[in-house]
C-alpha cells in the first residue's frame, strides 16, 4: 500500500457507521457509494428479489422529487445512479463529474433519507423486471448461470436469483419494501465510500452530517455456517432442440469467506479454471481439444457458505466429450495437484498483477466493498500476496480433493438433447426436462 501511495481517510462515527475517503483516479470524476451490509440473503421466502427491488426503489423518487426530476438532476451532472443488492450487501452508487461532487452528495443524502417509494413506479419497475426475465429466457447461457446457482445453493439463504423470479417478484408489495426500509436496513451497518480525484477536508465535514441521521448500529447477529442441502450428485438436462451449442455448468459446494483456507481456494481455482490459458481446463478443453471458445471455473465465497462453478459451452456433437474431458481434468488435478512450476507462476501472477486489479477507481471500489462486507480491513487487501506466497502443493491438492468431489457435483446442461442424452443414461439422478417448461 505504501508503495502505491494510497492514503485513505477512515472516519469511525459514534454511531458505529463509517466514512472511507480516498483521493484516487486520473480523470476529474467522483464516486460515492453507500454500502449497507445486508443483501439478498435477507429476502423472505416467496418474496425473493425484495432487497434488490428495495435498493432500486431508493432511486425511484424522493419526498421532494419525482423519478423523472431525480434522474434528470443526476444525469444532468454527468452522473449515473444505481441501487442494487448483492449477496451480503446492498449499495447505492452515484457518480459524476468531480466539479459536481457537492451536488452528488446532496442528492445521495436526499435519496437515502427521504425516499418516496412511489407505488406506481414500484409497480412499473416490477413489470419491467418481469419482462427482463422473459428476455433472459431467450439466452440459454444466462439461464444456465441462474439455474446452476440455485442448484448449487439449495438449502441456503442464497438459493435464489438476486433479482427474484417470475413468481416471487409478483408477490412483493409496496408494504414489504417500506417494511424493509424501516425495519431491516436500519439494523445494518453502513459505510459511505468517497473516491474522487481529490477529496477535500470540507467535504468530509459535510459527509459526517450526511451520516449523522443513521441510528446507532448495535453489532452483528451471529450467522451460522450453512451447507447446501442437495444430498447427492445430480444431472439436469434441459432440452432445447433449436440449439446448435450446449451450455454446460458443473457446481460443487465450497468455502465461506470466513474460512481460513480462502486463499488456498483462490489459488486452486486459478490453477484449475480461473487462470485463463494458464489453467488446466483451458489447456485441455480448448487448447488441446478445440471443444470450446471458453471454459472457466469461478468461486463465490459468501458469509455463510460458498460454491465453485465450472462454465463452458460446446457444439452439440461434442457435448458429452467435453463433459468427459472436464471430469478427467478434475480427476488428474485432484490426484496429482499442480506442478511446482504451475504453482510458482500462479503466485507470481497474483503478486505482480495486483496494481492492474486496482487501476481505476471503479476497480478499487469493487475490491474495498468486498473487504468491508466481510469485515476485512483495507490493509488486508495488500496482505493477500504474503498469504498466497506461503501456500504449497499439498494444500492445493487437499482443498481440490475436498471440494471437487464427483458425488457432490451438480450438473446442468442446456442443449439439443437427442444428440447426447444416450451418453448420460448410466448416470444416477439424471433428469431430462423441456427447456420451455423452466421459468426464470
Amino acid at each position: 500500500m505504501r508503495e502505491l501511495n494510497l492514503n485513505p481517510i477512515e472516519i469511525h462515527l459514534d454511531s458505529n457507521h463509517k466514512i472511507f475517503a480516498l483521493s484516487y483516479g486520473k480523470a476529474p470524476l467522483s464516486y460515492l457509494v453507500m454500502l449497507i451490509k445486508a443483501g439478498s440473503e435477507k429476502d423472505p421466502k416467496g418474496k425473493e428479489g425484495l432487497t434488490d427491488l428495495w435498493a432500486e426503489g431508493l432511486t425511484l423518487g424522493t419526498k421532494k422529487k419525482s423519478l423523472e426530476e431525480l434522474i434528470f438532476e443526476v444525469e444532468k451532472l454527468g452522473g449515473y445512479l444505481e441501487g442494487s443488492a448483492g449477496w451480503d450487501f446492498s449499495l447505492l452508487l452515484i457518480s459524476g463529474l468531480e466539479e459536481k461532487l457537492n451536488n452528488l452528495l446532496e442528492i445521495l443524502s436526499e435519496i437515502f433519507y427521504e425516499p418516496d417509494f412511489p407505488f406506481q413506479e414500484i409497480e412499473k419497475t416490477k413489470e419491467r423486471r418481469l419482462s427482463n426475465l422473459l428476455q433472459l429466457k431467450d439466452d440459454p447461457s444466462k439461464m444456465a448461470d441462474r439455474l446452476i446457482w440455485n442448484m448449487a445453493m439449495e438449502g441456503t439463504p442464497y438459493a435464489h436469483p438476486i433479482s427474484g423470479s417470475l413468481a416471487s417478484i409478483k408477490n412483493i408489495t409496496l408494504e414489504d419494501i417500506v417494511h424493509f426500509h424501516n425495519e431491516i436496513y436500519p439494523q445494518q451497518r453502513s459505510t459511505l465510500f468517497i473516491l474522487s480525484k481529490e477529496v477535500k477536508e470540507v467535504l468530509l465535514e459535510k459527509t459526517k452530517d450526511t451520516l449523522s441521521k443513521l441510528i446507532t448500529w448495535k453489532g452483528e447477529e451471529k450467522t451460522p455456517e450453512t451447507t447446501p442441502s442437495t444430498p447427492q450428485s445430480q444431472i439436469l438436462i434441459l432440452d432445447r432442440p433449436d440449439l446448435t451449442q450446449s451450455q454446460i455448468r458443473i457446481a460443487f459446494p465450497s468455502l465461506s469467506r470466513k474460512d481460513d483456507r480462502y486463499y488456498i481456494l483462490k489459488l486452486m481455482n486459478y490453477l484449475l479454471g480461473g487462470g485463463g490459458f494458464s489453467s488446466r481446463l483451458m489447456e485441455r478443453v480448448r487448447s488441446q481439444k478445440g471443444y470450446t471458445y471458453s471454459i472457466r471455473s469461478s468461486f463465490s465465497s459468501l458469509k455463510t457458505c460458498g460454491t465453485l462453478i465450472i462454465s463452458t459451452f460446446t457444439p452439440t456433437d461434442t457435448t458429452y466429450a467435453t463433459f468427459e474431458e472436464i471430469l478427467s481434468t478434475i480427476e488428474d488435478f485432484t490426484k496429482q495437484g499442480p506442478t511446482e512450476k504451475e504453482l510458482e507462476e500462479a503466485k507470481r501472477f497474483f503478486e505482480k498483477s495486483f496494481p492492474l486489479r486496482i487501476e481505476t477507481p471503479k476497480q478499487l471500489l469493487n475490491e474495498i466493498i468486498l473487504q468491508e462486507t466481510y469485515d476485512l480491513k483495507f490493509q488486508d487487501l495488500f496482505e493477500e500476496i504474503e498469504k498466497l506466497k506461503k501456500i504449497n502443493i499439498e494444500e492445493i491438492k487437499s482443498i481440490a480433493q475436498e471440494i471437487l468431489q464427483k458425488q457432490k457435483m451438480q450438473v446442468l446442461i442446456i442443449g439439443n438433447s437427442q444428440h447426447f442424452i444416450k451418453n448420460f443414461e448410466n448416470f444416477e439422478n439424471l433428469q431430462l426436462m423441456p427447456y420451455k417448461d423452466v421459468l426464470p
Binding site: 423519478l67 444532468k76 419482462s131 446448435t244 451449442q245 471458453s294 507462476e345 498483477s353 487501476e359
Partner: protein, 430 residues
Amino acid sequence: MRELLNFRRYILDNGLKVLILEDHGLPILSYQVHVKAGSRFERPGITGISHLFEHMMFRGTSKLGPEEFSKIIQSRGGIVNAFTTQDHTTYWENVPSDQLELVIELEAHRLKELKLDEESFSTEREVVRSERKMRISTTPYGAALEELFSLAYLRHPYRWPIIGWDNDLRNLSLKDCEEYFRLHYAPNNMIIVICGDVVPEKALDLICKHYGDLTPQECFHKIEPEPPQRGERRSVFKKPVELEAIFWAYHVPGIDSDVIFPLLGICECLSGGKSSRFWQKFVRAGKATEVRLVADPPPFWPKDPGLLILYAIEKPGIPISSLENEIEEEIRLFKEKGPTENELEKIKNRLKASFLRSLESLFFRGLVGGIYEIKLDGFEKSWEILEKYESLKAEDMIQVAEKYLHEDNRTCIMVKSISIEENAKFGLIE
C-alpha cells in the same frame, strides 16, 4: 484532458509507427499492437479470416507451444488478449512495467517466427466456430443483426460479420491464413502503442532492436464503396424467441466526419440513461422492454460510413409492430424542436463524463491513441473529443437528424417469434 492522451510519435525506417505515453502513477503499462487487418479487408469466401488469424497468433512459434505466449505473460503478472473489429486487429498486454522488454521481445518474435500448421489450424477453426455460435446462433437476436448488416450494405465489406459466415469458416485453409498474414502483417501496416510507466527513449531503443529488421511491403486494398440507399429495405426474421423485436439501421458517415458528434448527441438525448426520451416514453411507461438508438463512441466508431442502430424489444402483450409509429413520432418531434436547453446540458455532461470515465485506464487511453492513429492517421484528433461534446448545438443535432434519420435511409428487420416445431422447417442457425 490533453495530458491523458499526449503521446509521442516515432516512425521507424521500415514504416512502423510507435506511440508512447508516459504515466508513472502505477508500476504498470499497456502494450498494444494495432494492425490494419479487419473484416473490411476481406472478401466473400474468406470472411472471418482476420479474426481467425488473430487466434492463430496465439498458436505458437518456432520456440513457443500453443498458447505459451499467454502463459508466459500471465506468469509475469500480465493480462493478454486480442480483438478484431471491422477496421483493425489489436493485440494487447497489460503488464507490470518491469516486463516491457519481455513483451516487446515476444510480440516481435511471433511476427517473425509464427508457426502455422494444419493441426493448430483445425483446432482453432473449431474454437472460432464455437465462438460464432456463442455470439450469433445461440443469442436471441445475433442472427437477425447479421441479416440487418447484410441487408443494409449491398457492396461494402461491412456487410459480413467480423466473425465470418459459418460456411466460409468451414472452407478456410491454412494457405488462406498464410496469404493473409503476408499481405497485412507488415511493419508499415501496424502501430505500436506503449502507455504507462515507461521511459520513452528506452522503450524506443527496444522497439528498434526487436522490430527494426522487419521488412516493409506494399499493403494496398481497394474497398468497394457503398452506394447511397435509395429507399427503405425491410425484412422479417423468424425464430423462437420469448420477446419479438425490431431493428432499424440508418447509414451515417465514418469517423472522419464531425457529424458523428451531433449523432452521438441524438443517441444520448433519445436513449442515454433513464431520463432519456425513449426510456421515459416507452420503457418507464410499460410499452416496451427496451428501446435504444446506439452507435459506437470514438474511437470505436467505424472508419467507413457505418450504421446507427435503433432497436426495440417488446413488452409481453404489446406487439412491437404497434410501437413503430410512436417511435417514428419521437424522431419527428426531435427533428422539429431538437433538445431542450436542459437536455442539451445533460447530453454534454453525460458524454464528457462517459469519455473521462474510460480514460481512467491506461489500456483505454492506449486504444484511443492507437485506433485514432490507425483510422485517421493522427491520435491528435482525439484531443478534440471533449471539446466537440462541449460545443454541441441543438441546431446541428436537428440538421443531422433531418439528414440521416429518415425512411429512405433505413433498413428494418422484424424478429418474429415462431414455435420450435415451426422453426424445424427452417433448419438450425449455424
